[in-house]
Point group: C2
Chain length 159, copies 2
Amino acid sequence: MIQLDEADRTILVLLQQDDRQTYVQIGAQVGLSPATVHDRVRKLERRGALMGYQARVSPRAVGLPVTAFISLNLDGGQSCRSVTPTLEAFPEIEECHSVAGDTDLLLKVRVPSTEALEELNYRLKCLEGVVRTQSLIILSTRFEDRPRIPAPLGREEHV
Amino acid sequence: MIQLDEADRTILVLLQQDDRQTYVQIGAQVGLSPATVHDRVRKLERRGALMGYQARVSPRAVGLPVTAFISLNLDGGQSCRSVTPTLEAFPEIEECHSVAGDTDLLLKVRVPSTEALEELNYRLKCLEGVVRTQSLIILSTRFEDRPRIPAPLGREEHV
DNA sequence: CTTGAAATAATATCGGG
DNA sequence: CCCGATATTATTTCAAG
């Protein structure tokens, strides 16, 4: 785990809310000069706490209004290993998690239509090692893309 | 649906990959001047295609190594409406979707430990209108935070 | 680790094609 | 809608406390 002081945490919170904030503005909040903020940001990047900067694009706006979660059951073979790179090649798959439970993989997907979801589902079923799929369609998203770090974040668990 | 030409799409793709790219760099890719790129970006923001800019923060780095999906069953009462704002007040809930199927709401959550997940689960069960919860723990994340717009994005479906 | 100041590079604005 | 030029701001570097 990366050690972060309070200033680092605040910087992360501010940047994940809006990374277009200037180092001057951020510096004012944390009580540091812009140069120091710059320095800390570079360090956070190198240490892996800051993994990138991305614009949030409305899925609706770009023609991907349908969101769904798809559960995948895999056979026991070594295809379990090889299936991840294959899935990564599907642009409609936004997330891919390995889970504990009834299924093996959980995917979050974005598609233009329910017809496209059906089509995607079919293509997944055809993959080597996939024995079953199950789709869960999102009716509406109440919220997502929320900051991951709650502002204060209670003190660390001692492991 | 927002109408986007090819340049707009390219701009969105580039910005969602890395929104620190300069308008000079983007302009070179799409064959437009920096001033024009600037202009288009502002328009994309106003039209709602660009919803914000956020730094991606490593959940591990900030002490939230455990990810889970929690399904919620609600009673039929009007508490269905009031539960969303309540959930939004939970900082550990990153996403909240209304789904079609066995359950009513699907949450994506980040917590410091499995103990914290247990605690969260308990707090959710106690909420007015929640009759059942079910947790699905993520063992490992193969990928997430992927761009939502695949580079070319096949031609529009005609509805 | 921090800073102010200087050098560099970006964004924002605007008149006009 | 697009551009070039200008003005304004921000980032980046650096020598030094």
